[in-house]
């Protein structure tokens, strides 16, 4: 396929892997933040191509995985109301809440619909004036502009039967929290290319400065990731800490300004809980007061759904890169995608699910 095949070319990939091997004289721990990047690394076995000195750990960048349990429980509670049509991205449906997931809610008669774009949720609201349409608006900065556009469009059209259950997370505050941890092992970061396509990469300057750590904005194809790793290793070997952009074909310094404007018009920064990690100050987005009429938390009387999760799986260590999924005693035994014990096993982009789908044989043999 044009514009993609060259980024999956075996010869180029092997050349980059060789360059990394030639360059790496010390051991380095690098983290890719985004679940899409984790997926590519596992799917193409990029870690197999790397020299022993390079260890890749997988960050918390799977939006499905880090959506808090309460949000899932609220979505399910809303979906089970007869007047509600709950609209969601597909991969949220299998995420376990406290008692149910949305697939099971659907089996019990809830009207749950999958969309590819949030504006489709607005279309559903327009077509069903006698029902209340709730869109489960989750994600990183990548999905925030489109989700914001849905609320903006609903308000412009004066729709009174549309609202959003918002659980938006932001990358830089989470990275800061992770790097601040006394247990941090990460020495170089691959910043998420899609997030930076929207936001630009200026916000990562502060991380480079405060933690003296190289950051490279990386893409999602095998060649992108290998090139980003090479750029990080070169910096580390030369004791440098700079911000670089590997994903130049998509990311500019200032990002997508109209997208940022619509985000700022609709959302404001708020404290946010991350499933598997915990609360992180100012690491999320919520609807601004002007959009209160579109905030499902305010439109519906949801009482106070607060969920406590039993501490059993090691998702916190996995999402911080302290442990590999295969270090978990229940990985691929009691914890599988059909029966996930923890959030990273749920979505295809979760680190545990990526290991399960693509790498089980390394454990079996």
């Amino acid at each position: 396929m044009k514009y993609i095949d060259e980024y999956r070319d075996a010869r180029i990939a092997r050349g980059l892997a060789k360059a990394i091997a030639n360059c790496a004289r010390h051991n380095w721990v690098l983290m890719e933040i985004c679940g899409g990047q984790t997926h590519t690394i596992m799917r193409y076995g990029l870690d197999e191509l790397l020299p022993r000195q390079i260890e890749l750990v997988h960050g918390p960048g799977c939006p499905v995985c880090v959506t808090p349990l309460e949000t899932i429980d609220r979505a399910i509670a809303l979906a089970l109301r007869p007047e509600v049509i709950l609209v969601s991205y597909g991969d949220m449906l299998r995420v376990p809440g406290s008692d149910l997931d949305l697939f099971r809610a659907k089996a019990r008669g809830a009207d749950v619909r999958i969309v590819y774009s949030p504006t489709e949720a607005v279309t559903i609201a327009r077509a069903n004036p006698d029902r209340k349409v709730v869109f489960l608006a989750i994600g990183f900065e990548t999905t925030a502009p489109a989700n914001a556009m849905a609320a903006w469009q609903a308000r412009r059209e004066g729709l009174t039967n549309f609202s959003m259950l918002v659980s938006h997370v932001l990358v830089p505050p989470a990275m800061r929290a992770l790097l601040t941890s006394t247990q941090n092992r990460v020495q170089g970061l691959i910043a998420p290319g899609h997030v930076c396509t929207v936001m630009g990469y200026q916000e990562y300057e502060a991380l480079v400065r405060d933690f003296a750590l190289p950051v490279v904005v990386g893409g999602f194809e095998p060649v992108d990731l290998l090139e980003a790793i090479l750029m990080l290793v070169k910096q580390l070997e030369q004791h440098e800490a700079r911000l670089e952009n590997q994903y130049v074909r998509s990311v500019s310094c200032q990002g997508n300004l109209p997208a940022q404007r619509i985000m700022q018009e609709v959302f404001e920064i708020a404290d946010q809980k991350w499933r598997g990690i915990g609360p992180i100050a100012r690491s999320g987005l919520r609807l601004r007061p002007e959009f209160a009429a579109y905030d499902a938390n305010q439109v519906f009387d949801l009482e106070l759904i607060v969920a406590d999760e039993p501490a059993e799986c090691i998702s916190a260590q996995v999402l911080q890169g302290l442990k590999k999924p295969t270090d978990c005693p229940v990985f691929a035994m009691r914890c599988t995608p059909e029966n996930p014990l923890g959030a990273p096993m749920v979505s295809a982009e979760g680190a545990c699910a990526a290991y399960y789908h693509y790498r089980r044989h390394t454990r079996a043999s």
């Binding site: 396929m1 899409g36 349990l69 697939f103 505050p173 598997g276 999760e309």
Partner: protein, 353 residues
């Protein structure tokens, strides 16, 4: 400001749900949940040797003749899609399930479950298409049934077809016959049917229309069996795609399967849609493709026979059966690394970003 380190170390984890309390859509996906349903509910109830083979068709002996029987229900939405409709699909699906056992398809039954309010014109078009597909496959529709359900109790139209065919005595194909060293042959590009349906349902527009590959495969099968009877197993990778089919064969034969990613044909448009939606063509349904496990000594001639047939022009050897990692399908990626090709629990879900 960031929270102190200890707050990040809070553990959290949801409680697992047993998959057995309710029937979910995933139980019909052709993946692991479907297999569990068969294993836990249907097999214990109906257990007998013909059923226990768990192939696409049952093979029974009647007065010295070997008869293949199969049944399939069709619930496709939309009813009409590029490259076919529910009527032609209902013929192709059942004919193919017979053909995968090596049987010559002879007779079909057709049952219609119609939702009140369906346009008579739609029903007529479906019936005509069904008849055309049956005539072109050389099978006769010899019995049928009609039920009409109240509006809201169905989805327009469901069709069930049951098929009967005859088998020659020396044709012995089954999913548990694969042996280490066997070659894996695929008749053409994967993912066309599933993506054609998805594109039509979601109103996705592309430069060229993606058509379903829906077709009757029994003449292709016959041309392969003309070359040799040393074909261990044939399957049409429908629901759950190529991956689920090969995982089933690996599990049933207790062998490993090793695929070569670069040899698996996928059409450009199908790849494009899959990239866009975050889907893997290995899990997307086909309705006019077959995969055959073949003794290595005859793989070349069988491949040549497939390529000599209209429905097998793009046939490829896509991998081999191995004694290592029994029950597991692995794939050499385009980069030369190795990964597992897993069976999905339920349907493939489009990714969020």
């Amino acid at each position: 400001m960031a929270k102190p380190a200890q707050t990040i170390l809070e553990l959290s984890c949801p409680t697992p749900f047993p998959e057995k309390d309710t029937v979910l859509l995933g139980h019909g996906s052709g993946g692991k949940l479907s297999a569990e349903l068969v294993r836990d509910v249907f097999l214990p109830a109906f257990d007998n040797p013909a059923l226990a083979r768990l192939d696409d068709q049952a093979i029974v002996q009647v007065n010295g003749s070997r008869i293949a029987i199969t049944t399939d229900s069709f619930v496709v939405k939309p009813l009409f899609f590029p490259g076919g409709d529910i009527g032609s699909l209902a013929v192709h699906g059942t004919v193919n399930d017979l053909a995968m056992g090596g049987a010559q398809p002879l007779f079909l039954s057709v049952a219609f479950i119609i939702e009140e309010g369906l346009s008579m014109d739609v029903l007529r078009r479906v019936v005509e298409s069904l008849q055309r597909a049956a005539a072109s496959a050389g099978v006769q529709i010899v019995t049928g049934d009609t039920k009409v359900v109240e509006k809201g109790s169905g989805d327009g139209l469901f069709i069930n077809t049951t098929g009967i065919g005859l088998l020659e005595p020396d044709v012995q194909m089954s999913a548990n016959h694969a042996r280490p060293g066997d070659q894996i042959l695929l008749s053409g590009s994967i993912g066309d049917h599933g993506i054609a349906i998805l594109a039509q349902r979601e109103g996705l527009q592309f430069e060229s229309t993606i058509e379903s590959d829906s077709a009757s495969l029994h003449t292709l099968v016959a041309s392969m069996l003309n070359v040799t009877r040393s074909i261990r197993c044939m399957r049409d990778p429908t629901r759950g795609g190529l991956s689920s089919t090969l995982n089933e064969i690996a599990a049933r034969s207790q062998v490993g399967i090793e695929l070569d990613e670069s040899s698996i044909p996928v059409r450009e448009e199908v790849r494009g849609v899959c990239e866009l939606l975050g889907l893997d063509p290995l899990y997307v349904a086909n309705e006019g493709k077959l995969v055959a496990i073949v003794d290595p000594a005859v793989a070349g001639p069988v491949l040549a026979a497939m390529r000599g047939h209209d429905l097998g022009r793009q046939a490829q050897i896509i991998g081999a059966v191995t004694a290592s990692h029994p029950g597991l399908v692995t794939m050499r990626t385009v980069l030369g690394t190795e990964r597992v090709v897993d069976m999905l629990a339920g349907d493939q879900l489009p990714r969020i970003c």
